[in-house]
């Protein structure tokens, strides 16, 4: 902790968890989509559903999906901006099992046809936790450089990715592995100390057994 965890963030109100955190969830989702979003369905759970409207949670999530950060003064106008850009968003309220009170599920489609489904929660002070990607459980904050690798659960995939990072002198800070079922769909989450370049991401996508690679550059609170 340091003084800037106490004073700050600079943000658009009214709530660090319901507004700033919601912008961040939208923003992180957009970065992981890596395309201009054209269509999104957003499910709001718990306190996001109950008090989200008054806190501007809906506006905040859309603002983030449009690429705005929590301090952007255009956040209140996000619905109008989305309309101008042809970005179609629908909302629904629902109960998500075992989820944090401030949780949203965003299913978003990009202009090139890529889709991604993110479940994330706003955990206080504008910080967030991504809980699921495409229905696979994960846990990361987006505060560090994060590499998300969808792959087939067979031997060798992890070493191929880590070797590639090592070759490029990138240090892995943390690493998590998740899978749907044995031999099925799996996800590795690697947080790195150095920035992962576009070239490395492209190279990783060509490796055997790797389905999809998404990179999230550290987003400061």
């Amino acid at each position: 902790m340091n003084v800037f965890d106490i004073l700050g963030p600079v943000m658009v109100g009214p709530s660090s968890s319901h507004t700033a955190g919601a912008v961040r969830i939208g923003y992180v989702t957009r970065v992981m989509l890596a395309e201009e979003p054209v269509e999104a369905q957003i499910i709001l759970h718990g306190s996001f559903a109950a008090t989200g409207k008054g806190h501007g949670t809906d506006t905040a999530l859309v603002a983030g999906l449009l690429g705005m950060k929590p301090s952007d003064i255009n956040i209140p106008q996000s619905f109008e901006i989305a309309k101008e850009r042809g970005f179609d968003v629908t909302f629904q309220k629902s109960v998500i099992k075992d989820a944090h009170p401030n949780t949203a599920i965003i299913t978003v489609k990009g202009c090139e046809g890529r889709t991604i489904k993110i479940q994330a929660s706003s955990i206080g002070g504008g910080r967030i936790m991504v809980n699921r990607i495409d229905d696979i459980e994960v846990n990361f904050t987006g505060e560090n450089n994060t590499l998300i690798v969808h792959n087939i659960d067979v031997p060798g995939n992890i070493s191929r990715i880590t070797s590639l990072l090592a070759k490029n002198n990138i240090n892995i800070a943390t690493m998590q592995l998740y899978r749907h079922e044995k031999g099925g769909f799996a996800v590795m989450i690697l947080e790195t100390d150095q920035d992962v370049t576009k070239e490395i991401i492209e190279e990783s996508q060509c490796l055997t057994g790797i389905i999809k690679v998404t990179y999230l550059q550290a987003v400061e609170i």
């Binding site: 340091n2 600079v10 109100g13 009214p14 968890s17 507004t19 806190h55 206080g124 504008g126």
Partner: protein
């Protein structure tokens, strides 16, 4: 985070013959890995955002629920009437705290200090201090480190959010931080800073977090005013040489004890207190429609 108590900071100041600001800055440089000037620059930016938020206050704005808006302007008009009990300094504090709280509720840009819900306490006092007592931006920015350093200790020993410790933790911490900053600005001793924090927090012990309809509006905006006024009077007492009988760190621990034992209905759940009044229930059901 090197400091776990205010006493530790005071001892460091006295042992090394350094100011409270220097003690916090030394720790900040280690924690952020950045030099004093870079840390100062980051804080200057926050002070600038606070000032901009005050200047850009729009009295026509209403929050999405329509519960909040326009009161900052009423206070300005009242101040100009010259018919008030208080002097211009405290009237400015009231007006600025209302403006910042309203701006936050109306989705304008603010600085969480330490939270968005309590964002009006610190800037209201600093804006009044600058306007009425001529302190420079640089003096204010340095004292913001003192305030934030106090906030760090409170966060480490207790809490700073209504959802975890009730409003005593949220507006209480904002007020305690502000009182510390005010004493530092007037070159009060480290001990006086500690007494100001202790007295401010003691006055807010037990305060519940009871937002109507779960929104950061009622009673939050006006509680920013109460917190700011509390900070001002406690800073004045400390500067006058008045001491807190209970040591500051023990007061912080008492705040934690009260928060730990506070029922969940008083922790931002909108189930108790002001949020549970017939009027609040009426407002909440209207907003749901």
């Amino acid at each position: 985070m090197a400091y776990n108590s205010i006493e530790e900071i005071i001892n460091k100041c006295n042992d090394n013959k350094i100011s409270f600001y220097e003690a916090i800055m030394q720790d900040t440089c280690i924690a952020t890995g950045k030099k004093e000037e870079e840390n100062l620059e980051r804080m200057r930016n926050m002070w600038q955002v606070m000032c901009e938020a005050s200047q850009e206050y729009d009295s026509e704005l209403k929050s999405r629920s329509k519960m909040v808006g326009g009161t900052g302007k009423l206070m300005d008009i009242y101040m100009k009437s010259g018919n008030s009990y208080c002097g211009e300094f405290i009237l400015t504090v009231i007006a600025e705290a209302l403006k910042m709280g309203e701006s936050n509720a109306c989705m304008k840009r603010i600085v969480a200090a330490p939270t968005a819900g309590s964002c009006g306490v610190m800037p209201s006092v600093y804006i009044a201090v600058k306007k009425k007592h001529g302190f420079s931006d640089e003096e204010i920015v340095k004292s913001m480190f003192v305030a934030a350093g106090v906030g760090e200790v409170i966060a480490a020993r207790a809490y700073i959010a209504g959802a975890t410790g009730g409003c005593q933790a949220e507006i209480g911490t904002a007020a305690a931080m502000t009182a510390a900053g005010m004493v530092a600005l007037k070159n009060g001793t480290p001990e006086q800073i500690g007494h100001a924090v202790a007295m401010t927090l003691k006055g807010m012990l037990g305060l519940v977090c009871d937002p109507v309809a779960g929104l950061v509006e009622v009673p939050c905006v006006k509680r920013n005013v109460i917190g700011a006024a509390n900070a001002v009077v406690c800073a004045e007492m400390a500067l006058a040489g008045i001491e807190s009988v209970i040591p500051v760190d023990q007061v912080i621990d008492a705040m934690r004890e009260v928060g730990d034992n506070m029922p969940t209905m008083y922790k931002e759940t909108a189930c108790g207190g002001c949020a549970n009044t017939p009027k609040a229930c009426e407002i909440a059901s209207m907003l749901e429609m």
